[in-house]
Amino acid sequence: MNGVLATASLFYVRSRVQRWFFALALASLAARSLFLNLDCGCSRPTSSWYFLAEMVSVMPVLGFAIASLMSSGGLFRTVSSLRTVYLIPRSRAQLASGLLLAQVLAAALVTIVVVTLGPSPARPMGWGSVRGTFEYVFGAATLALVALQLIAGPSRVASLLAGALTLAFLGEFDLFMQPEVAGLPTPDVLALAALAAWLAFAAWYSNSGPIAPVAAVWRARRALSRTSPSSTTRKAAIDTYLLGHPSLWLACRRPLSFWTLYIAGFGVVMGLRPFQFTHMRHVPPPDFSVAALLAQLAMASISNSLAGNIARQSRTLWLRSGDSRRALFARAERLAWRALALVGVPFVLAAAAAWTFLPHLFTHPVFPLAVYLTVAPCGLYSGLLNFTRTRDLPFLLFFLIVSQGGVIAAMLQEDNPHLPVGGVPLGFWLLPVGLALLAAAMRRIAQQRWRQIDWLRYRAPRASSLGVRAVE
């Protein structure tokens, strides 16, 4: 039983990212509850501030759900791949039971929150009722997790598509909106489908042989080059060491393909909207605004992870390149900017094409573009400050807040000729200006930190596999 409980904890509160999001989600729900009880007139459903508060309070909860499901999918797979776990009798049965128990516990918690804070149920078995809410959440979470186990499946393209579609559907899922409105099946059907999926997964999982870890499946299989060059230039060699890859394009390829598929998945879901809502009287038109916004947003995330990689690789050049710490920073910064340009240009062009040729509800792309163009350098310098092997959590949170701010600002825009460029009030433009100033300040901090880097403190963990950390 202890093994089952320990596995269940893996899904929502095991890693630091999960706990951060969990705390943030709880705080936002508490703030929402407080806000709705205020007697200021702004808590009326007709107020635009009410709409804004609804959006802001739901975002961290969605962020928690997405981050937890994604990271726990990987963690579960990694633990499953450990040989030490494989050799424990009945370990697979315990892990599969833990997966189910975690979803039951999560659904129970969400049900309590929704029944306490959410809307009244429209139907006896609808969203907001105890049974309906529990079955919706349990069904959605279990189906998502079983689908995510495909990440370590035999085909990387299929895995990526499954992950992208799961993420996209999760992005569509609104905790306080009635799922039946969003086109989801009835709660009983969803819960039964989830149970059937889990049973099929558990039967396969308990009887399968050793499972490959996620990293092994994601490892590039093609040879990078058929020939072994006898020489290369000094600059190319330094760039290769900094990137950990023989070319900038190869270093960018994985995050680029992930984001491209994610955006494509989102685009597919958005494009299918008219079919999804056929049971409703008013069928919403297809809307590709969010996919276009995501395309602009991707460059900040990618530049952050690439710059973090560059910062961690810098140690390898301390003796080899002969550069001082200051010169190394200058090299790293230049390379990170090149990476940002490489990923930024195609994404901005793709977003521009989406705004031009695809149907969208938001009228002005300029303001969110300005926000995302200024948040990207923040991501870059935050990455250059991240010498540890863990994810850049502060930036991840900052990124989510700013990106959601950009989305919300875009949603509040109106096609009003009296408003200045961008369809937003002038005060809104302080956000990109502030972000640009923040990037400049972060650059200064990064320069100073690099002059004192202690690589001994930032050494890679002796066992680099996620699995070892997962079971520590």
Binding site: L224, S228, T232, G244, L319, G322, W455, L456, R457
Partner: protein, 292 residues
Amino acid sequence: MNAPVVSTRGLGKVLGEKPVLRGISIDVEPGSVVGLLGKNGAGKTSLLEVLLGFSPATSGTASVFGADSFSMPADVKRRIGFVPQQDELLELLTGAEQLALNASLHPHWDRALIDRLVRDWEVPLDRRIQVLSGGERQKLATLLALGHAPDLLVLDEPAASLDPIARRRLLREILDIAESPTRTVLFSTHIVADLERVANQVWILREGAIVWQGDLDALKESVVRVTITAREPLPAALGIEHVLSQRLEDRRAQLVVTGWHDALPAALEDRFGAEVAVEHLSLEEIFLEMHA
């Protein structure tokens, strides 16, 4: 007298709250082969990383070829070859690509030496590094440090993943390097036999402090096991200095002492009216006694 290749004075390092190096003062002469011995967590890697400028010292000073370690200029770094404990190879490259990459970073690259070592050590260059075994990776990492013929070669547990044949070949190479009077080797290990085979100087590190530094033969001569067999019961306090360990059983005492000299047996015989037997220890026994 030649200027020391590596020199430290009162070197200390604190990581978080924990002191990992304490008051280390050492000099390494050119042409030495220094073996750094210590159990896991003694501070061997920390000491090497501070010496090579990867990490700033919390107190004291460290210099290499006369330059401050933390801000070594390029011409000093070029004279150093380093094999870290965890290799820093690029997983996606082949061995040949990794060697070519390193060669392009150095103005002089001894291709003939590397080609010979690749053959002798049987390093597969056509496979990606991510599929190489631990020993093959270690050999490749060592090749990367040797190609530019460094004046100071620093190896952090270089033989940990090697099979006995590969270990012997690596040590032979270190001995070849050591034949040059201007080239210096500094390596850490916990394999005592390796150290005995190649080092002429030894530093023994315990809890971040150096408890012995100097000539290997001098260490072996100065640390002995003394067995005292008396006719009367021996006192609990024998009053002998520099005792590493002591076992006392009524009329018999067995001690391991440092700073041994020839006059000591006679002095002990006179003091306790006892027979004194002296036994020299192997380096491994000395190391174990120092950590007892």
